[in-house]
Symmetry: C2
Subunit: 250 residues, 2 copies
DNA sequence: AGCAGTGGTTGCAACACTTGCAACAGATGG
DNA sequence: CCATCTGTTGCAAGTGTTGCAACCACTGCT
């Protein structure tokens, strides 16, 4: 492990929260300001940092690389048009989360027409046991992968409806697998609910899930459920674009 | 400047193009594979790299930070809903580019409904002399800033219609400033054209521009011009949301 | 005007950290 | 079963990093 690189990444994490001055950064790292400055200059020359009146923040080279990376995730370009159509139709927020190496990551997001924005962010990991997309994916995963995943969960409680025991969660997953879709009844934030459905790749394996999310005050769960036909059709369309013929369901 | 950090950034640039193996990366840097591995492990632990079957690529921590950074650019959250509405209306690609420290950067993009995607990418710098947004911003910039900008331009020719001399470009900017909007008549790629209009901040200064872009075969320039009222209205709406009252126009 | 508090810069000496090496485990594939 | 690859480790050598001190330039305050 490289100390210097670790420090550089730590700087990026630090000024990503909000722009930071040289002094703040040096103090945060616990190094002399000249040391911090030399690291910052290297980041700046690479486009990973930029300075604006004495404060440093994320550089645009880094933004461009990250966007490119998402577009390279084979799922994103295929799914995005479908998600936009779904978002248009109801004006609610639409998410797509993908299973990628033992993590479930938001890879696309279409903001709803409401004034409030969901706090989710492309690139961030999903909370598996308190999200519609997380449960939709886990419920349809093959046995060994699911077990591996579940073993790492902590079942932290976020709201009154959060599922907090392995047994209850397995039961919930079984129910989801049976009916083919999942919901989040305010399990992460009590004023937010959603419905979610799985997306399959060419071999029929569940690799992602899409969801329609809304404030409970704006669209309670029973109203979101009415959109399930369109949601599952959207997921089916994405799956078809990925090459799934509906033949296999392992 | 830190050699180690420079190497780390170079690695990121390298595997951003496409996933790379340890051997490739070591060779690219001209270092021993154990050295490359140690840097990679540091990046991986920070979430800036991830490995998938022996090849490395961009990690999700980096994606999340970059998305956060764009959302923190005060312009993006304000403008995005307006751009989406504009994109919906005609089905063409909509861009927003922002002037930020001597560069013009794409900060939002709404893909059109066509099968082809524009090659632009959020986070990337705009080509100022061959793009609608670039010209729209430059034309409405204050004298000193514009001169500083123009001094750095190279006027590279991309297509037959590219403007390649400072004199012709200044003339074009004057015309744009007068009528209040710009166009790109296949000046970067001959099969793509667009119309663009400026966005002003609370103090009346032009800080960004929005454009409607389409394949010439799908929507030639004279057809795009018909959308100008909606485009300028969109830009005015964004400007209003930024606090512009229309009083000042420096 | 003077002062205190910033950010930014530089040369240098000391040494901590990085580097290359070599050797090996383990996986993969012709 | 050999060839080739990634991944890992301990170690010696020395290069690159670090802290320091002193400095300039700028800002805002008194």
């Amino acid at each position: 492990m490289s100390q210097t690189v670790r420090r550089a990444l730590s700087i990026i994490e630090f000024f990503a929260e909000r722009p930071r001055s040289l002094g703040e950064i040096a103090e945060h790292l616990g190094v002399h300001k000249s040391t911090a400055l030399r690291l910052l200059q290297t980041l700046e020359r690479g486009g990973f940092a930029r300075s604006v009146d004495g404060r440093y923040t994320v550089g645009f080279r880094m933004v461009a690389i990250a966007h490119q990376a998402v577009e390279h995730l084979e799922l994103h370009p295929v799914a995005h048009p479908h998600l936009v159509r779904l978002g248009d139709r109801y004006g609610h927020t639409v998410h797509l989360a993908q299973l990628v190496d033992d993590e479930i990551i938001y890879v696309a997001k279409v903001d709803g027409r409401g004034a409030l924005k969901m706090r989710s962010r492309v690139g961030r990991a999903v909370n598996p046991h308190t999200s519609g997309v997380g449960k939709a994916i886990l419920a349809h995963l093959d046995e060994p992968s699911r077990d591996r995943f579940l073993a790492r969960l902590t079942y932290q409680r976020h709201t009154a409806t959060s599922i907090t025991t392995p047994a209850a969660f397995r039961q919930e997953l079984a129910r989801i697998a049976e009916r083919g879709w999942a919901e989040d009844d305010g399990e992460f934030e009590d004023f937010v609910n959603c419905v979610a459905a799985p997306v399959r790749d060419a071999r029929g394996r569940v690799v992602a899930a899409a969801s329609i999310t809304a404030l409970r005050a704006l669209a309670p769960l029973d109203q979101l459920r009415e959109h399930l036909p369109q949601l599952t059709e959207t997921c089916a369309a994405i799956s078809r674009d990925l090459g799934w013929t509906g033949d296999q369901r392992p």
